[in-house]
Amino acid sequence: MPVKDYIRKRFFPHIWCPGCGHGIVLGGMLGAIEELGLKKKDVVMVSGIGCSSRIVGYVDFHTLHTLHGRALAFATGVKFSRPELNVIVPMGDGDATAIGGNHFIHACRRNINMTAIVMNNRIYGMTGGQFSPLSGPGIYATTAPYSSIDYDFDIVELARGSGATFVARTTVYHVNEVKDYIKKAIQHKGFSVVEILSQCPTYFGRKNKLKDVNEMLEYFKNNTTPVGSQAKKDNPNLIERGIFVQIQKEEYCDKYLNVIEAASKEVKG
């Protein structure tokens, strides 16, 4: 099925600003779903609040647009009741690590079989350009007119430390990697996290003197490197892309099924 058959065309053109990276993530994600040959009725997409979370409005799957930061909690409920469905949770950086930070680490810890996609544009776009936990020091934002002094999270390390069994990172410039990693994340049995660096030309770009969207994409091109490369050893400031964690661990729904079986036996006696 071609990618365009997965979108709700009546809502296009979408609301995202010109040059926003979220549309590229959407394209990559649908490409992954297309290559996996998933049927529309077998995919559930759950999102919270924010520019990135508008993504569920544009896809023709089962979709839930829920509370800010709570998408993973709703998604856990969906997966628990219908474990056969593919649950995908696209989130923004603030949605995932600030408002939903607790849900995020606990979903990682439980290793429930679903895919979290963190679209990291390092700013709160929808509410007017406030800095997020992923902005990092030295970044200008509406709420940091003299630049932010906060250190940022490293999503990869956060997810790894919390127990996620598949963790990958790429950028929207590397659009084939977006598709590839999301595909692998969906196939992975366990909790998978894909961080995708995205651009917000409207707020992040404008506040931080980045000329236009192409300069932001050039930044992704020039400042990232495949994981474990020589370039990273030569220049530690580069951001690594790739699959960082891919391990097998017993999955949460399976474990819960064991509990149900054990409890049923006890009742039957």
Binding site: I7, I24, G28, P201
Partner: protein, 71 residues
């Protein structure tokens, strides 16, 4: 052998003129027209890499190939 590109369709209704396709086209096949929408200038140079289609945030570009190849 490389697949022959039949046409590049730009959906002007959906294009927002961000210029990503123009900037990153390896063969400079595209430009922004007077109304600030993507337009094809040199179809013969197109190598069919589809990077414009894949990187378009607005689903506004489609690269079509000859020989009934899937677009």
């Amino acid at each position: 052998m490389a697949k022959k590109v039949k046409e590049i369709i730009v959906n002007k209704e959906w294009c927002k003129g961000c210029g990503i396709c123009v900037h990153f086209c390896p063969k400079k096949v595209l430009k922004l027209d007077k109304s600030n929408k993507a337009a094809v200038t040199d179809l013969d140079s197109c190598i069919g890499c589809k990077l414009c289609e894949l990187r378009c945030p607005d689903f506004a570009i489609e690269v079509k190939f000859l020989d009934n190849e899937q677009s």
